[in-house]
């Protein structure tokens, strides 16, 4: 990595920036669910469309943040975070499917003539257990993969490609119908969560609120990490792993910790994403999605906390907009965006804003 300046700068300014932007955006975001409850004719009413759209983007923002923890700070570019996101989503999805199907089997199982639930579905009718899965599934996978990967010092490009292979394998596995997760249709047609109708404005508002909260919490976490000695060790690790080892630090532990943490954050984001967009399927695990996530981070500015959030917002905002405005051409824009960012904005949008300030 080649921007020590910017990194320290943001670390100095980190708290202030976080406080400011966090404060302002937070206000709006907290207001939105309330406004969404207004009657439709009210001019301040926030439509369900906007709410779900922003909610979706917020979930992506959390993923971006999580990815930034491992890439921006620890220098491990993961091209497999989509997998953790999807695992969290699937765990939540299992619960929602059970809610929807009541005592019977989920629909996709009945018409492929499954007679009973596979063992790994046991207990998913309980919300608390589903929540445990949301954390455990991505967490454990990350733990195992990370343990082996870091033990044998896989880093840089190798690490990226291995993670990509991992998520690709995951995608193929979930595409199989025998795997018992609805094949490529995945889970859809949810009805209720904790007894509340999934389409109720109230439920939507609460889910949105929860997402905002998770974002705030993960921001706070990230901030604390970045400020702690742990954060500094990560930065050191990124820049001179050998030196760090000869200082007597064992890099594996540090990598593993942040790697698992990031995976769990992704899982949680996925769990909030599913009820809001109303579908989870293996497409989420496709390598493309994970690469896109990396682009959010790069665009926003990696090694900073706000950058990834901006990145996720901008890219997805553009996506939603271009796909209406210029359906045929939005891939050109996206592609060009990638190139321009990597060529001219190595520090991302944040870097740009900072430069402006210094003038």
């Amino acid at each position: 990595m080649n921007q020590p300046l910017m990194l320290t700068a943001t670390q100095k300014a980190g708290p202030k920036v976080t406080a400011w932007v966090g404060g302002l955006v937070l206000l709006v975001l907290l207001a939105m669910p309330l406004l969404s409850l207004l009657p439709a004719d009210n001019s301040f009413q926030v439509s369900a469309y906007t709410l779900t759209l922003v909610g979706k983007i917020l979930c992506y923002a959390i993923v971006a943040l999580a990815l930034d923890l491992v890439w921006g700070y620890a220098g491990l570019l993961s091209l497999g975070h989509g997998l953790f996101f999807a695992l969290g989503g699937y765990a939540m999805g299992m619960y929602l499917m059970r809610q929807a199907s009541g005592d019977e089997l989920p629909a996709f199982m009945t018409f492929l003539s499954w007679t009973e639930l596979p063992w790994y579905w046991v207990g998913t009718e309980h919300f608390w257990w589903a929540m445990c899965l949301v954390v455990l599934a991505p967490g454990l996978l990350a733990l195992v993969f990370g343990f082996f990967a870091f033990r044998s010092r896989i880093k840089g490009v190798y690490f990226s490609i291995m993670t990509q292979a991992l998520t690709f394998a995951g995608m193929l596995l979930f595409f199989r119908n025998e795997t018992g997760f609805g094949g490529n249709n995945g889970f859809t047609n949810f009805r209720s969560i904790l007894g509340f109708g999934i389409t109720e404005p109230g439920t939507r508002a609460v889910l949105f609120f929860a997402t905002v909260m998770l974002l705030v919490i993960s921001l706070f976490l990230g901030w604390r990490l970045a400020r702690s000695k742990f954060g500094r060790v990560l930065t050191a690790l990124r820049d001179a792993e050998n030196r760090l080892m000869f200082c007597g630090y064992d890099p594996r532990g540090f990598k593993l910790f942040v790697w698992v943490l990031s995976a769990v954050l992704c899982g949680l984001a996925g769990a909030l994403y599913v009820p809001q967009v109303g579908i989870i399927n293996p497409g989420e695990m496709s390598p493309t999605n994970s690469i896109e996530a990396a682009v959010w981070v790069a665009l926003g500015g990696r090694g900073t906390l706000i950058g990834p959030l901006l990145g996720a917002g901008v890219v997805n905002g553009m996506k939603s907009w271009f796909t209406v405005a210029f359906p045929e051409y939005w891939l050109f824009f996206l592609g060009a965006l990638f190139i321009i960012v990597t060529l001219y904005l190595p520090k991302g949008v944040i870097g740009l804003l900072k430069k402006k300030d210094e003038q």
Partner: protein, 421 residues
């Protein structure tokens, strides 16, 4: 001076939040109809032509004076083969653009992804592609075939003398829900015809599978045990390598005929058909059927493709889903005229029993209750010019059975559309 930057940052996020609220400008004198087909991503290969077909049909209707005296205005969006985006876009079409009806979706997963949205907002979707059934929503009209309108007649044909009286069957498919369900139905059907399990082989490949060496040689081995036919639900992209491998290993249609449910004129454009001659496809429409309606339909399409110089316009072809789109839009227009309104509930009522003289040469009827079209079934043989030669077809359009009787438990399902939640 950090503050300014923060305000910038904030306005950025805010503007993104606002994105949703934009695009809501309404034009009173037009009726907006949504078109929801992927124009980018993996599904663009199939869906792009449906988008164009929809636009052509809308022009055609407008040329005749529109619906209830109002012009139709198409709102095209690109869900980019991304299933969650399908849901988002449909919500946008219904709540932001306030479209009267949406024509779109190809894959089952995209339909399943938008279904809850349409049911929640009481929208109206016309779905033009053959699918696995097991669904009947009041907010969807299915103008494609249900399994009993495509798969079962095809197998009956293969078992008939003209079809080569096949005794053994290889059910080859890409591993997703449509092939799984279809093959499940077929297996049950074959059992009912007294075919033993040892004479049925079910094989699945991953998406985008491109190496069919092993599978084809297995088919060869299997076919040594008696007259064999392959029933292929292989998904679009994998068909080319599959057929090329068949040709390479010298498996001729006279020995082992392959009947496909998802290979149409459009797909054949991408295949060198000489080695395929004699292989079969089952659809409800072929470009080659001869009748005045179809002649006009095909010519209009070719003309439209030229006029808007769509890529590959010089050899533009029509296929079953295109016809289904065409029929769907016209039927909706008729229903709207009949209801004198585009209100979803009124139109839904008016749709029941609508009839339309389709390019397939039959007059298709929208069923009174089950939201599916009555469709004829045709078996076509691939010719070296990339067209199909219809070798067999049903006398009458067949009523759809979205809840296949061959799947246990379906007998309890109601024969009319009910919200899934």
């Amino acid at each position: 001076m950090k503050r300014r930057s923060l305000i910038k940052a904030f306005t950025l996020t805010a503007s993104i939040a606002a994105m949703g609220m934009s695009w809501t400008l309404q034009a009173a004198e037009t009726i907006k109809v949504g078109i929801l087909h992927s124009l980018s991503g993996t599904m663009a290969i199939s869906e792009t032509s449906l988008k164009d077909m929809a636009l052509m049909t809308i022009d055609e209707i407008n040329a005749k004076g529109g619906v209830n005296g109002k012009m139709l205005e198409a709102v095209v969006v690109d869900p980019a083969s991304n299933w969650p985006l399908f849901a988002e876009k449909s919500r946008q079409l219904l709540t932001q653009d306030k479209v009267a009806v949406v024509f779109g979706c190809w894959t089952s997963v995209s339909r399943k992804s938008v279904l809850p949205v349409f049911e929640e907002l009481n929208g109206l979707l016309f779905y033009p592609v053959q699918y696995e059934g097991e669904e009947m929503s009041p907010n969807v009209f299915y103008t494609g075939a249900a399994p009993n309108q495509q798969a079962i007649p095809a197998v009956e044909y293969l078992m008939s003398e003209d079809g080569g009286s096949a005794k053994r069957f290889v059910l080859l498919g890409t591993d997703y829900v449509y092939p799984r369900t279809t093959n499940k139905i077929l297996r049950a059907f074959l059992h009912s015809k007294g075919v033993a399990d040892k004479d049925i082989e079910e094989v699945y490949t991953p998406f985008g599978h491109s190496d069919y060496q092993t599978i084809v040689s297995n088919i060869k081995k299997f076919s040594a045990g008696g007259k064999t036919a392959v029933i292929s639900t292989v998904n679009g992209d994998s068909n080319v390598p599959f057929y090329k491998e068949l040709a390479n290993q010298g498996l001729k249609a006279t020995d082992v005929p392959v009947i496909a449910f998802s290979v149409g004129e459009e797909e054949l454009r991408g295949i060198d058909t000489k080695p395929l001659v004699g292989n079969l496809a089952a659809w409800n429409y072929f470009e080659s059927v001869e009748n005045p309606v179809n002649k006009k339909f095909v010519n209009d399409w070719k003309a439209y493709a030229k006029a808007h110089n769509l890529p590959g316009a010089d050899k533009a072809v029509t296929n079953d889903p295109m016809e289904a789109t065409y029929v769907g839009i016209h039927m909706w227009a008729q229903a709207a005229e009949k209801a004198k309104s585009t209100d979803v509930d009124k139109v839904r009522e008016a749709m029941a029993g609508q009839t339309f003289a389709a390019p397939s040469g039959y007059t298709l009827t929208m069923d009174k209750t089950n939201h599916h079209l009555h469709k004829p079934v045709m078996i076509g043989e691939i010719q070296d010019d990339g067209q199909f030669n219809v070798v067999w077809q049903t006398k009458e359009p067949i009523r759809a059975q979205p809840w296949s009787p061959y799947i246990p438990g379906n007998d309890k399902k109601p024969d009319y559309a009910v919200k899934s939640n």
